[in-house]
């Protein structure tokens, strides 16, 4: 029954979904893996970005893809400001405080959204929402294909920033040895805020790619955050290549699980992988053993 004509589209579907998961996870791996900030507000920040895209479309008629140059910087600025103005101040440098502060931020953001937008699930319609592209025996929705390419491009750009730029070097230095980085003159607080900003900027891009084929409501982020944490652990904390491969893998597992076990039970694959990785390879696929 499960021949190539069925499995192939399901795998493609999983890869396209997985690319967006990867983009969400990239932001998280930067914040969580490199800076060791457990950002519980990641899902809520994605929700904020999705509402930005939604409002730009409904108020100004701006296409979600054209909204990229607006939403990405806006999310970066939000991230920078949140880290400098709220998280850093309230946490006093203690990890357990950061955890609670980000959790608090998530609750505040979600309830603000609930207040303003109610619990309605909102979608946007674009001319290409229902357009499909034939690839072999499969028909893939155009927005998913765009999301796939866009997510890969964003991942490449992020990897380039971290590997090749001064900022990237500073981020890596701070991640490895905070005290040492400070001693050689790196502004650690600034690097933290920049990293947090970049992490949220990834969400801005993810939101622009997601909304044409997805929806937004105040609780939308929750589903992504769990998956993103799984991907970060699967790929190895702080590993960008790991987040990318992990995202694609989780996407495919979810899609095939949905196909074989049904939409509700299919999610079990994600949890199974999470537990298996923790048991068998706790450093993750691409993580170095520390």
């Amino acid at each position: 029954m499960l021949d190539f004509a069925i499995l192939f589209p399901s795998v493609l579907n999983g890869l396209t979904t997985g690319a967006v998961y990867a983009l969400v996870a990239l932001g998280l791996t930067l914040i969580y893996g490199v800076l060791h900030i457990i950002n519980f507000a990641h899902g809520a920040a994605l929700m904020v970005a999705l509402y930005m895209v939604y409002l730009l479309k409904t108020w100004l008629g701006l296409d979600p893809y054209l909204a990229l140059p607006l939403v990405v910087p806006a999310m970066f600025a939000l991230g920078y400001a949140l880290q400098r103005g709220v998280i850093e101040r309230a946490s006093h440098g203690r990890d357990e405080n950061i955890l609670l502060v980000t959790l608090g931020l998530a609750i505040v953001l979600e309830n603000l959204a609930l207040l303003v937008f109610k619990s309605d699930t909102r979608t946007i319609e674009t001319a290409y929402t229902l357009t499909t592209v034939p690839i072999g025996p499969a028909f893939i929705a155009l927005p998913k294909l765009v999301a796939f390419v866009g997510a890969l491009a964003c991942a490449a750009a992020l990897m380039w920033v971290v590997a090749r730029t001064d900022l990237g070097r500073a981020i890596r230095a701070v991640a490895k040895e905070k005290q040492g980085a400070r001693l050689v003159g790196i502004d650690v607080a600034h690097v933290y805020a920049m990293s947090f900003g970049i992490g949220l900027a990834c969400l801005g891009a993810a939101a622009c790619f997601l909304l044409p084929a997805y929806y937004v409501n105040p609780q939308v982020g929750g589903g992504f955050v769990l998956v993103a944490f799984t991907i970060v652990v699967l790929g190895g904390m702080g590993s960008f290549a790991g987040a990318l491969v992990g995202g694609l893998l989780i996407g495919v597992v979810e899609s095939l699980g949905g196909l074989m076990l049904g939409e509700s039970l299919g999610q079990i694959g994600i949890s199974a992988i999470f537990i298996a990785v923790l048991l068998l390879r706790p450093q993750g696929l691409f993580g170095a053993r520390t």
Partner: protein, 399 residues
């Protein structure tokens, strides 16, 4: 001078004394009625449509008022169930506190199950406008009355008619796949269908459930491709129904028929307008009005003049409120027990649904029935039963 003053004062007092009882007499105490629907959340569209239908009914009723209560108006208290049973129950508590004489609502089966029970605690009459799950009227709640048909009736009508259509066409369809939403309404309907269909020679190849909301039906449709059923039966709410059928279109999956049972969008003018190609040929067994009754056409015109779609939510709730008003009229009172008694004895027939005169047995209107419709040439036409038929059925849609 003083005489003139006292004359003025006396006249004024007299006039006041005369006028106030008149005003008081012209303004009998309004009857407070709760209108409860999921107007936000996943079911917001349907909930808002229901509310619109209720408000139009109240507008019509309030033109003359409740005659037996000196023309008393219905005073609406709107409630939002936020698409969850818990929020629905909480609204019932508020409506009880506010002194509502009765409640009409609450669209979704799972919500109705909770709200009717919450209302029963206060002996608060609850007219169910849509909620098709039969458990709603099978718990012996004296306050609960459902005007429309339950899902057992709908499933039986749908399956027996499918058998007739299939037999007349030379039995081209043998296998069925059911796709339903995972709450009480979809699951219950799917279970009933799965039980009934094999008796008529159909093989139920697969039953798939999905959450509300579901934004990606690709896997389900791929599975459909693999199973390759002759007939696809969806039982779900509007958004998911629309997305399912559109994904089938995207993935070029074309069964011999899409035969919906209480399909959320299958007989919806909204779906028809937005996706005429996807809607074409879809058969639905659902709440529908008597197409030969002029009053239904009149209401449709009024609804459309407001820029709204004339969906089953609108006309179901519209008639449910009229049913309640008729009961209050006969109860001659805003008292809850009197209204329950009047509902129980209701023979309400002044409506455009194909139910005949109302007769409640254990809170269920015995005459309530669904009609079978099909999207033919860009319009929704009644195909079964014969007395309401507007067009001949096209079955199978594809050989």
């Amino acid at each position: 001078m003083s005489q003139r003053r006292s004359f003025l004062a006396q006249s004024a007092a007299g006039a006041t004394a005369l006028a106030f009882p008149l005003i008081a007499g012209a303004q009998p105490k309004p009857v407070k009625v709760g209108i409860l629907h999921p107007v936000t959340g996943a079911l917001a569209f349907s909930g808002q449509q229901c509310r619109e239908g209720a408000l139009m009914a109240i507008e019509d009723i309030n033109r003359a008022g409740i005659r037996s209560l000196g023309g008393a108006k219905l005073d609406v208290m709107l409630g939002d169930a936020q698409s969850t049973p818990q929020a629905g129950s909480a609204e019932i508590e508020k409506m009880n506190e506010a002194g509502c004489s009765a409640v009409v609502g609450a669209f979704a089966s799972a919500i109705c199950l909770a709200t009717t029970q919450a209302a029963a605690k206060y002996n608060l009459p609850h007219v169910v406008d849509v909620g098709v799950a039969d458990q709603i009227v099978q718990r012996g709640l004296k306050n609960t009355f459902r005007f429309g048909p339950g899902y057992a009736t709908c499933a039986q009508v749908a399956v027996s008619n499918l058998h007739v259509l299939n037999t007349l066409a030379g039995k081209p369809a043998k296998s069925v796949m059911i796709i339903h939403e995972e709450s009480l309404f979809g699951t219950g309907t799917a279970n009933l269908l799965a039980r009934e269909l094999p008796g008529f020679g159909f093989e139920v190849k697969e039953i798939i459930k999905h959450a509300n909301p579901t934004r990606d039906f690709n896997n389900i449709v791929l599975r459909m491709k693999a199973v390759n059923p002759d007939i696809v039966i969806p039982a779900n709410y509007f958004n998911e129904y629309a997305l399912l059928v559109r994904t089938m279109q995207q993935q070029k999956v074309m069964p011999k028929a899409i035969y919906s049972v209480l399909g959320g969008a299958a007989s919806s003018y909204k779906f028809l307008k937005e996706f005429p190609d996807a809607a074409n040929g879809i058969i639905d067994c659902n709440h529908w009005f008597n197409p030969k009754d002029k009053r239904a056409a009149d209401l449709r015109r009024r609804v459309e003049a407001k820029g709204l779609f004339f969906t089953y939510e609108v006309f179901n709730t519209y008639t449910a409120v009229r049913l309640l008003a008729d009961a209050i009229e006969r109860a001659r009172s805003a008292d809850r027990a009197a209204i329950i008694d009047a509902l129980d004895k209701s023979a309400f027939a002044d409506h455009f649904m194909p139910y005949g005169a109302t007769k409640f047995v254990n809170g269920q209107n015995e005459g309530a029935q669904p009609l079978m419709t099909q999207v033919i040439k860009g319009d929704i036409r009644v195909i079964v039963p014969r007395e309401y038929r507007e067009a001949d059925p096209i079955f199978p849609l594809r050989a």
